[in-house]
Amino acid sequence: MIRATPGGRLAHDITNRGATAWIVSALLFAFYIVLYFTEWFTPLARALHLGSKWTLYGTLYTLAIVIGGGFMIRRYGHNRYQVIRTFSVMSVQLLFAYSLPQLLVFLQQPEFYFSYLWPLKLDYLTPGYLFHLPLPFILWSMLGSFLLVPILGVFFGKRWYCSWVCGCGGLANTFGEPWRHLSTKSSASWRFERVSIYTVLGLSVILTALLFASYAVGGAHPELAAFTYKYQGWYGLIVASVLAGVVGVGLYPIAGTRVWCRFFCPMAALLGIIQKAGRYRITVKDDMCISCGLCSKYCEMGIDVRAYAQANTSFTRASCVGCGLCAEVCPRGVLRLENVARKAPQLQLVQIVTR
């Protein structure tokens, strides 16, 4: 016999911005600040025979994904899309983002993460780093970013990466699952997102261009090399450390799980543009929506899915990571993720309201 029980006060509090949620958030912030800006974790890492604090972090991160993934699969075991997708992020993390890099180091090869690509990992298109790698790694980086990403993006949308491969999305969709509904759905946040995410994409492209320019002519133009060096330092601090790590994960219990992915990730921005032009969409079954709002509530990207569903509009939003939870929670089976050869024109949100 299955016995349903209400989550209880603590579970409600921790997942609905109660006092405990703020405490967890503060602890996550503290953890990331200590990790990035101090060496306090180093002795612990050494004591555990993990080499550096980064290996310790990788171990914790992988554990969070594997354990969280286990809970995810238990909870959504009836939905094969969720089971397979979760299995995928768990495996990618365990193999490509954890075991393989360490194996490479053991084999005296560069520590390389095949699951990360430019522009998420700018290093992999930084000439000073890239060209010192063995040829297969260089090829993987170039082909990955310039062939694999756009081709798979056209056929399957950004979900193949953001919800099936990426470690940031992986953590969000496993460990972060209890907080997914906290993303803001306001139109104002959508306006902010469109500015912020393409700004970061622009900054990352400019940085890569500068790195190449500086690599080519930096000797003759030391001021360019110096500027690039400084720019790279700031980008690394603000985007890679603060936004992706401290803010991205630290805000899980307050602002939901995909703050980094939704507002800042340059990879998500690029894939989003490809997705808009590609085949992926969320198909809406006409006239079946009861406007309950579960889809919007459980959208971690803050998309007001209900606005489309209740207006009978199939749609593709650049930000949608294709996690499939909207379709899962819909009590009337109105939504389905699809890759269709031809997409009908999509209504704008203003038209949707007055239809």
Partner: protein
Amino acid sequence: MRYAIAGNGVAGVTAALGLRARDAHASITLISGEADYFFSRTALMYAFMDRLSRRDLEPYERGVFEAQRIELVRGWVKDIDAQARTLTLDSGRTLGWDRLLIATGSRPRRPQWEGLESVRTGQVHFVSMQDLEASERAVRRGEKAVVVGGGLIGIELVECLHWAGMEVTFLIREPWYWPVALSDAESAMVIAHLRHHGVNVVTGETVTAVATDDSGVVTGVVTEAGRRYECRLLGVSIGVEPAVEWLRAVTTPPRLKRGIVVDAGFRTSLPDVFAAGDCAEVELSGRAAVVEQLWYSAKRQGRLAAQAMLGDAVQYEPPIFFNSSKFFEIEYTAVGRFTEAMREFYYRFEGRDASLRVGEENGAAKAFNMLGSRWDHKVLEGWVREHRSLEDVMSRLDEAQFDVEFGRLNLAPARAAFEHWRRAEWAAGKAPA
């Protein structure tokens, strides 16, 4: 032009937005005594179960009403004067209008049980925002609850109370759950699913009396068979009826039968007064009048009523029936209505709570009842409209599947069973030539 709409449910709000889309200058006033903002009534259960906050129930951002210049007024309409073209709220405020839409929806059907007059607390319905609040207050974790009524709202309330940790008994008067829509076999699957969750389901029991203690707290119900079911919370969901009683007392009442009588253009007997949604009884040309009480029909009627109020020639024709629901984890899609005259193919999938039923009349598929997997009702509707044969429909059934990727229900066993059934029917001489 001044449009006033009484009721901010899905019919009223759809009408208001429809009016604004076509008339940029009119004044539009939306009146509700129930809630400040339009909310999804069908989602009340998810608010109860902590899946949604109250605010999440609102299908539109609040700014939408300001942006669309729809004035929201909180209050119950107490009087309508169609001669003076005014309405009066419970606060005493009077509003003028040129065209009025009454969209006041449904109210729970009241039972006729002994002892009801002594009930002070412990008895709840589950239709309005106020019902939700009352239900939440009445919950006593670990204690017994009884829900009376074998329909869709009843099962929602059962799920809510069960979630809240109450020991729930579901008392159904009919021989099985929801006979209006489900067959005995389909109901058996749903009931088994409920029992698996720990709900005590009792069929064929008619409640005749409710028992209370000295302070008016519900303590149980008594059935026709003389059995007594103890409970601290009594949920009553024996159906809904058009919320029209209040109209009998107004200065100019519109013609009423079961609901507010309207023609196929949603006009009531009063000039420039329209009605739509659950409260309307639509007289169709050459057919019996309909009272439709679904989210879908209210939305449809609200949209059309707005067109009628704008002066369009509207001739309402209810489309092929469809409905959907969810019984705990079992999803339900229905298209068309089953009748006694139909030949039926039914298949229950093995190893999961899923089944399908197709009804055929005069060689054409007319009705579908799908449980436990997802279906595109538009595709099924198309087949009904095209008078496709049962064989044709069964051979292309996969085209209507709407399950998640990788999660498609395997139809092969259903097709094999259909072939078997078809041969048997043919041998028995029942199949059409």
